[in-house]
Symmetry: C2
Subunit: 418 residues, 2 copies
């Protein structure tokens, strides 16, 4: 007998029928003998509808008023899910962020949780209630309503689980767990039974988005076991996400992802003067442009080339900065390449196995896939390839690192996968 926190996203409570389905998942956990706290998002496209309404009123809605507006979405969901649970004969009560006391910073539209009051939650649990809490929202110590930004409901659920010292936080969604890569590319990809926080974070960083990194960070920080599981197959346990130190065995590579949101910029024939790179990346940093991969090479003519990648959204401002700094950064030519993809393998197991990078390069070479840039971190290796090659690369790497299974993955709804 412990506390289980469950979280249902917008697609899992999109209509009365789905709300009843979520209620069944709640009751199943209750019948297992656990105290249950449920965190829900706004129904289906409610948030999009409210944003559209605000945009019809003004092109520049105030962020405080947006939070006042958007927080109603989750409040509708908690009332309806509570009614559905009660209709099945169970004691339940809904609470919005203000009522729980989900205390956040005084920042609108992307506040961070600073504290979660547990006295009312514990009282309602002691009274035998299933508690249904509004995700995505909080309140400042002054009583201002805030929202947590992207991934907010996942973060609410994990933070509540941490505050209540819950046994586990189950994230119900319309995928059946965490797959080693996007099942739309490799239909027979393996689903992980267990994966570490660290691997999930790296995968999120390189383009996979089952869970928002903030929720995984929070789970890691408070050591809350997370489960990603299907709202529609209640007997399937999905994927458990825990600390790498608690994992018995893990594969060298846990997941593969492709990120196609970057562009590559190549500066050729730069004079080899000390400080050019510092000047260049200093100017980009001053303008809040994040640079991901960097290669500097010295050609035989004694001149440098520098290649680096930035978010496609930052391309125009990057080119403007290069133009502004051309008296210092004297490149013969500035080339941009938009048709690239960063393919990454992630695995906590690669720490002790130095051969993994070589295996990756060889597997890509065997498919005649040219590697333009490479970057590595402790548990990740990324290769920049032509965008046209990215699916082929993922398939080859899945085979290379033994991430295929006998089963076809089930993917429903519009939720993006690994």
């Amino acid at each position: 007998m412990g506390i289980i926190v469950q979280k249902f996203g917008g697609t899992s409570v999109a209509d009365p029928q789905k709300i009843h389905n979520a209620a069944r998942a709640v009751i199943k956990e209750r019948e297992n003998g656990n105290d249950v706290v449920v965190v829900v998002s706004a129904m289906g496209h409610t948030t999009d509808y409210l944003i559209k309404l605000a945009k019809e009123v003004t092109s520049m809605p105030d962020s405080r008023e947006m939070d006042m507006l958007l927080s109603t979405g989750e409040q509708v969901s908690i009332a309806l899910l509570t009614m559905a649970i009660q209709a099945k004969g169970y004691k339940a009560i809904s609470m919005n962020g203000q009522q729980v006391g989900i205390i956040t910073e005084n920042i609108h539209s992307k506040a961070r949780i600073v504290d979660i009051k547990t006295d009312k939650l514990k009282k309602h649990l002691d009274d035998g209630n299933i508690i249904v809490v509004a995700g995505f929202q909080g309140v400042t110590p002054e009583g201002e309503i805030t929202t947590l930004g992207r991934g907010g409901s996942d973060t609410s659920a994990v933070a509540i689980a941490a505050a209540l010292e819950a046994e586990r936080c189950d994230i119900y969604t319309d995928v059946e767990g965490v797959y080693a890569t996007d099942p739309r590319i490799v239909p027979n990809v393996q689903r992980a039974d267990v994966i570490s926080y660290e691997e999930m974070l790296e995968l999120a960083r390189v383009g996979a988005n089952v869970l928002h990194p903030r929720s995984v960070e929070t789970a890691k920080q408070f050591n809350v076991p997370l489960r990603v599981r299907s709202s529609f197959k209640l007997d399937d346990c999905g994927t458990l996400i825990i600390g790498v130190e608690n994992m018995e065995i893990y594969k060298p590579v846990a997941g593969i992802a492709a990120d196609t949101s970057q562009v590559r910029i190549l500066l050729s024939n730069l004079p080899d003067i000390p400080g050019t790179a510092a000047e260049l990346f200093g100017a980009l940093a001053k303008n809040n442009i994040s640079v991901d991969m960097i290669i500097q090479s010295l050609a035989s003519n004694g001149k440098n080339s520098i290649a680096f990648t930035v978010d496609a959204d930052d391309l125009d401002s990057t080119l403007k900065i290069l133009e502004d700094e051309k008296s210092v950064i004297k490149a013969d030519e500035i080339l941009t390449d938009k048709d690239i993809a960063k393919v990454s393998i992630v695995g906590a197991g690669m720490v002790d196995r130095p051969g993994i990078a070589a295996d990756m390069f060889r597997a890509l070479a065997e498919k005649n896939i040219n590697i333009k840039m490479i970057s590595t971190s402790e548990i990740k290796i990324s290769c920049l390839v032509d965008k046209a090659d990215s699916k082929e690369a993922i398939k080859a790497l899945c085979k290379e690192f033994d991430l295929e299974s006998q089963e076809i993955a089930v993917v429903k709804g519009d939720l993006p996968n690994l």
Copy 2:
């Protein structure tokens, strides 16, 4: 320079265009040099939509969860109206019932306001804000969300005006004020410039419903001047509602209304035994059936007849009670008459003028309208007539008591009129 409280109903904030229109009314009052607190209802049919959603989840939604659900409707409106005011360059802030501290009894779906905290309201006004407050909702001292039931937003507005000692509370709606009778029956009916709380209350009791009686009662109790005015004609002051003691001159008859929701029941040839009437009306009262008009007559044969009216909704249960009690209430015959209308004239001026009743009876007689029953109170005379005669009766009485004007009344939307 004082405080003006404004209230906009659902039809006045039904879409972004109407919200901007309401914002113009707010700013106009602000430009007059007043501090402004605005109370709003849920947009258009939002409340109906939310009720439908709840009914799709369960046929018996819990009233606490209904309040959690329905209170979101007003929260959407306050955010959007605040955005619209800000978009026009004015400082504004929204507050829900919880944030203001609109403290109610711990009863769901029809709570009464017991206290309104003014500290935050006053602080925001001192900071130069227009405040937009969610109507219809409150919070218990324990932080439970409640709603106020029918007419709730009007009551919120009047109660806030009372708490802030506002100069006036303006109820914006889609009629241009309080008419002496329903303009759909008498198109050239007079609109009242001033009418008393007492008259409004009597008119509401006899079938007119511009304002819910609770809001008028509250205004009367705290002596808050009320204005009913059009959201679409901002230069028109509408109708002012104040205490009768503050009125200089008033007409003997201020308004005329017809109530067609009652049925008449006639018990004929009852033995004239003391206690029969007491038995009859005691049994009805025990079953929560309100009896409106009563006539008892003694026929020449020494037997009684009793006629009375009840709400049409209560007819079946009334007949069942008469059947159950037939050993005591020995009527020869029980007749029911559904085609009746109670036509009432209301006016504080009739207190000192005994001829008004006679004038009413004569005006009806001149149109060959038969009066079946009569009842009177201090400022009201009601006559029961055939339903088919009720419009003719209203027209005749409008003429008799000088309630016609040169202008045709403007009626928009579905709001019922006097």
